[in-house]
Symmetry: C2
Subunit: 352 residues, 2 copies
């Protein structure tokens, strides 16, 4: 009764039919091959009864298709990537794919290893949230012709589609929000210099200042890392500077955590003593000492787009044209920006 069926051959033997027929039925090709309803039913019933599921490894070897997608992120513990990963996994599974999760530990060497590892595992495609500043290992990897999509950033010069936030607009809106509240000494604590995410955000910040006839003071653009420590260090530095800013734009959630720590240690309150807007909304943003105004990235949408583009490329056998999709972020206004004008600040998210 509770016989174990290890493979398609055994199941076929039990039913006195050929493995081929079983395979065809199980792959929904009964109609294509005009297999009799009786046989079809027999196979389906037996498969259920013996709880038989085809060995996907053997299938993968035969078809040269593993129905597996590699996902490389710099830090799965970062809520942004965790959310993106959740939707990617969901969307992939909905399409029959599983996700091999790889954490590059924000290390470019590790990322390079991971790319090779995933190639060896014969994933059908890769979604990569790149790290650091070099792209040599990525262009090397692209030679393998494994369909891939970059998320979070875009990689100028490389022939690989990407899905990222419209970071320019996000920073522009945030900066405009400060300006509307009457701030003019607005600092910007940035992440890794030279990558698209950072460059675009800084550009948005600069342009917002310029377009409102404010001068861009380069000493107000500080930092070189998306981590908490950089946020802390730069805030300490800015607080000590002769011409202290009244507002800080933090280009990542971790940076803003560092800003908060530094302010807290200095006994300064948000927004009374310092205004702050952070990139990346979080579940807790609303519950901070003062609920934080944030630039929220549309994580689900980024993930969905990435999976869709990747699957298209997989199914069409490589690159359905290079796309650089930009997803519009949303400025969520809470209470971390002080109104210097003493009149109500308006929501500017609809302007631009």
């Amino acid at each position: 009764m509770d016989q174990t069926v290890r493979n398609i051959k055994e199941l076929a033997a039990l039913l006195n039919i050929s493995p081929t027929t079983v395979s065809r039925v199980l792959n929904g090709k009964a109609d294509d091959y005009r297999i009799s309803p009786a046989t079809t039913k027999k196979v389906l019933d037996a498969a259920r009864e013996f709880n038989y599921h085809p060995n996907r490894i053997a299938r993968g070897l035969r078809l040269e298709k593993t129905e597996t997608i590699g996902l490389i992120v710099p830090d799965i513990a970062n809520p942004f990537f965790a959310h993106v990963a959740k939707t990617i996994e969901f969307e992939a599974r909905r399409n029959g794919y599983s996700i091999i999760l790889c954490d590059s530990l924000d290390d470019i060497e590790t990322e390079s290893e991971l790319l090779k590892l995933l190639a060896g595992r014969k994933v059908d495609g890769i979604i990569l949230a790149p790290v650091g500043t070099g792209t040599g290992h990525i262009s090397e990897f692209l030679k393998r012709e494994i369909p891939s999509v970059v998320i979070d950033r875009y990689l100028p010069g490389l022939d690989i589609p990407s899905v990222s936030t419209d970071n320019y607009t996000g920073a522009y809106l945030a900066t405009e929000h400060f300006i509307a509240a009457g701030h003019s000494r607005i600092a910007c604590i940035q992440g890794i210099n030279g990558i698209s995410v950072n460059t675009d955000r800084v550009d948005g910040y600069r342009d917002a200042l310029k377009n409102h006839n404010l001068t861009v003071d380069n000493s107000m653009i500080a930092g070189d890392d998306f981590g908490e420590k950089n946020g802390y260090d730069q805030t300490v530095r800015l607080l000590g500077s002769e011409c202290r800013p009244t507002a800080i734009l933090a280009l990542s959630n971790l940076i803003s955590l560092g800003v908060m720590r530094a302010l807290s240690e200095a006994g300064l309150k948000i927004p009374d003593d310092m205004s702050l807007v952070s990139f990346d909304d979080q579940p807790y943003s609303a519950f901070l000492a003062s609920p934080m105004t944030t630039v929220e990235q549309m994580k689900e949408e980024i993930a969905r787009e990435a999976v869709q583009i990747l699957l298209e490329n997989i199914n069409s056998g490589r690159s359905a044209g290079k796309v650089n999709k930009k997803i519009m972020p949303e400025l969520i206004i809470r209470n971390s920006v002080k109104n210097m004008r003493k009149i109500p600040v308006r929501d500017h998210s609809s302007h631009l």
Copy 2:
């Protein structure tokens, strides 16, 4: 020059030796088979030159070993699971394994599907953070004899090892902290009734009250879900009750988010109007309106233990004895508990 080598056969042909020899060298068995140093070097050099890596799918089929571990979590966007996943991935990779990430969406049906999916994908082992209350599908799954470890909870009655926090002690310490601060009407907002995590925490809470000669009022133990909504709903209810508590123990980070939302809407401040201790420390815990006292679970340790037990079971070919490892949490004292005695509250984490 830049010839592509698709498989071991091609590489062997290029070197005028047999695939067998190449395979042996590449698997570090050159010595076992006394393959000449010259041949060994030749193979190694060629492999590097042509950037050849064995097809792990074919290898998996032959060896019946995929060097792959399935990880099922209820919600990868939950920081607790994201952190655990990070360490699991790291430890697994260090040992040559990759992680197939599956999000069960806090849904037991999905979890059941996922178990089958992973079995079909021939993972060498599974780490499962179970959902809901039923275990039928899990005991069914265990018949497949795939090495598995449960994390976050333990499953009484099932023959599967587990690694979880010592939740009893965690809740006990938190409750004692309230008591030491002079609270006696302490509410407990719980998660899913009947699962070990919840039962143990509630037991710890009850016992702490009893051991300090406080009566346990069952109307103070409320709720049935680890989500934010439950935290909100129960807090609203408690605030409306005739005998309002002065303190709330929230049995999850999401519950405490709900508690904060309800308190905030009611215009109540932590800790002045209500004291709160939450399970699960978070990066932002220290930056909340009032820095939150939390019971921190040792995520890295849980993850490391789980991987270690799993790998032992994989290598020894099944269950190296059933273990239910409990990892001691840590009470992190900040400023979310009001001192009702008007004298300094001491750190009680060293008692017990």
